[in-house]
Symmetry: C14
Subunit: 89 residues, 14 copies
């Protein structure tokens, strides 16, 4: 493998794994948050507006960690400085 | 293996694993959310509309992380810049 | 191994593993959702129609993540652009 | 190993593992669903018909993920396009 | 190792592992189902006929996933198309 | 290693591991079933005959998965078609 | 390593691991069964004869899986057909 | 691989994994914190302002550990002293 | 390594690991059985003789699986047929 | 790889992993602490000032272990004595 | 490495690991047994003599599995028949 | 790699991993201790001074194990006798 | 590596790992025993002398397994018969 | 790598890992002990002196296992007989 190939391969694999791994736990957390929200609404229907509002803020925070991973992945595929340097050479 | 093969192989394996791994936890979370929704409805049948509405919003958020992985997978198979560069050479 | 073989091998293994891994957690989640549905019906028999309806919508969402994996698997076996490119060469 | 052997070996191993891994969690889920059904019947004997009917629909959904894996396995053994291409060459 | 050996070895190992792995979780599930059946009978002795009937249907469903694995194993040992092709050559 | 050795070695290792792995979970399940039977008898001594009868049927089902593994193991040691073919050559 | 050594080594390692692994879970199960028996006796002293009788039958079933592994181990050490064939050559 | 490539590859892989791994547990923790906040609000609706204020401070603390990882990742991609030194040579 | 060494090394490692692994779970089980016995005695002091008698029978059964492993270990060190055959040659 | 490269690579990988691994458990702990704080406030609103004060002190202690890892990471990237020695040579 | 070294190395590593692994679970079990004893005494102070007597018998049984491992370790270091045979040659 | 490099690399990797691994469980423990302290204060506000005092002593003890690891790490980076010996040669 | 080095290296690594692994579970067990002792004293302050006495006997038993590992470690560093034999040669 | 380097590398890695691994579980145990102490004080404030005294004795016992590991680490870095022998040669 020459230099171009090896950097391409590393970028492909890392981009995939970063998104794959990085989306696992945010999904898990959102599932947990949603599940708790549902049982909380069932337990205290009057507090539903406060609960759903806090839920959506929380989901946004959790989603942000998944988005960090997705951003790193996109940078590695479409804006990779190492790849730019190599193919420019 | 020449350069073309190695990038093809890396793309194939990464595309498969990213989808495979990335769908595990969203599935788990959706299962948890659905299960909690069901038991919440059983516990408080009057709140069923609020619960199912919150459930569907939550499922959409969780599904989004699985879709990030599926998107990365599809990019690697059908819109892979590294593959384009190599076969153009 | 020449280029054709190595891509064939990678496609075979990835197709198998993607389906194998990707079906694990949806199965688990569906089991959990069904189990909760059953105990919810036992607890509140009057809410059975609402529960089964929500259950089927939820199962469809969960099954969708398994289907993503199955689709990637089928693409890798029957519509693989890398394989097409190699054997066309 | 020549090309024919390596593809045969990859198909054999992948076929076995896909079925082996892919049947683990459906079995687990069906066990959980059946177990919950049994305890639900014990708790609410009057709802037995609804419970068993929901159980069988749920088992069919769960079994479907095991069948995806079995299908991929059978395709790899008896209708493998890569194998067909290689031995036709 | 020549081609014949390597396919034989792969078939032997895969046959063993597929059965070994594929029987783990069905056994676990059957244990869980039987255990729940026993405690359900103890809790509600009057529902024993319904419980045992549902139990046996459920055990058959669970056993089916173990049988898929056993079938793949037997195909690999006694009706292996790759082996047939190689020794026919 | 020549062909004879490598097949012998693969058969030995696979036979051992298949039995070793395949007996783990049936043992676990039987332990769980027996344990539940005991606590069920303690809880409802009058249902002891029904419980022990269901227990023995269940233990037979669970034992069957262990026996599949043991059978594959014995086939690999004493009725191995690959070994027969190699030493006949 | 010549053929004799490699088969001897494989037999030694497999014999050890099969017994080592295969005794883990039966031991665990027996511990669980015994523990449940003890707490059941404490809870319902009058049912002690039925409990101990069921316990011993269950322990025998569980021990049987450990004995399968021990038997395979002994066959591999003292009645190994592959070893017999090699040293007879 | 020459020096430039190997450092590029190491930076790519490490940047991806650091973000991928480092975002797992913060996501999990935020999910837990949000879930507890929701059930706390359901339990004590009057304390909602105090709870959400403490929640947001806590989420910021937890997010900070994810940001450490993201920062290291960005340093490795865009401000890597080792890469600067190598390509300056 | 010549033949004598490799068999000696395999015997040493296997003997150690078999005992090491094989003693883990019996120890765990005995701990569980003893712990349950103690809490059962505390709960029902009058049944102490029955409990301790059942405990000792159970401990003997569990210890037997540890002894299987110890026996295999001792056979491999002091009565190893493969070693005897090699050094006799 | 020459000496400069190998030290650079080791520093890059170690810096990433140390931060990645080292931030996992502090995040987990902070999540747990915040979650407990929230449920404690819900349970005893009057003690909120004491709880939040103790929470912040505790979070600082926990954060300190994450900072140790971040510090080691920064030392390896920006103040690495081994790198200094090599490039000075 | 010549024969003497390789046997020495295998003995050293195996001796260490056997003791290291083999002491894990007995320690765990003894901790569990002691912990249960303490809580049993707190619950039923009058049964303290019976409890401590049963505890010491149980600890001795559990310790015996740790001693098996220690014995194998000592045999491998100070009474190793393979080592004796090699250095005698 | 010459001697200097290999020792530098080993020191870098070990220093990072020791801190990374060694800070995981202290962080976990401190989180648990802080969480328990918070719920204890909520349960018994009058004992807050005693609880926080005991908490701080305990946190210091736990932090000490993290500091052992940090110290070993610092020794390996800044006061490494092996490195001193090699570069002095 | 010559013979002296390889034995030295094996001894160093084994000594470290034996102590490192062998101290994990005794520490865990002692933590459990101490924790149970503390909650037992809180539950039954009058039984404190009996509890602490039993605790110290139990801690000594548990500590003994850690000491076995430490002893093996010390033997490997300071009284290693294999090392003595090699350097005497 | 010559002899001096390989022993230095093994000592460095082992020293780091022994401390890193060996401090994990003591930290965990101390966290558990401290946590239980805090909840015990909250539950029974009058027994605080006895509890804290027992806690400190217990923490000392647990800390001792961490210190064993730290001592082995320090011996390997600063008083290593193998290193002394090699560099004296």
């Amino acid at each position: 493998m020459d230099n171009v190939s090896v950097i391409a391969v590393a970028s492909i694999i890392t981009a995939g794994l970063t998104t794959g791994i990085g989306c696992m736990f945010p999904a898990l957390s959102e599932g947990k948050a949603v599940a708790t929200a549902l049982s909380s609404i069932a337990q205290q229907p009057d507090a539903a507006p406060t609960i759903t509002r806090t839920l959506f803020v929380g989901l946004a925070m959790i989603e942000s960690t998944a988005i960090y991973c997705f951003v790193v992945s996109m940078i590695l595929i479409f804006a990779n400085p190492f790849w730019t340097h190599i193919i420019a050479k």
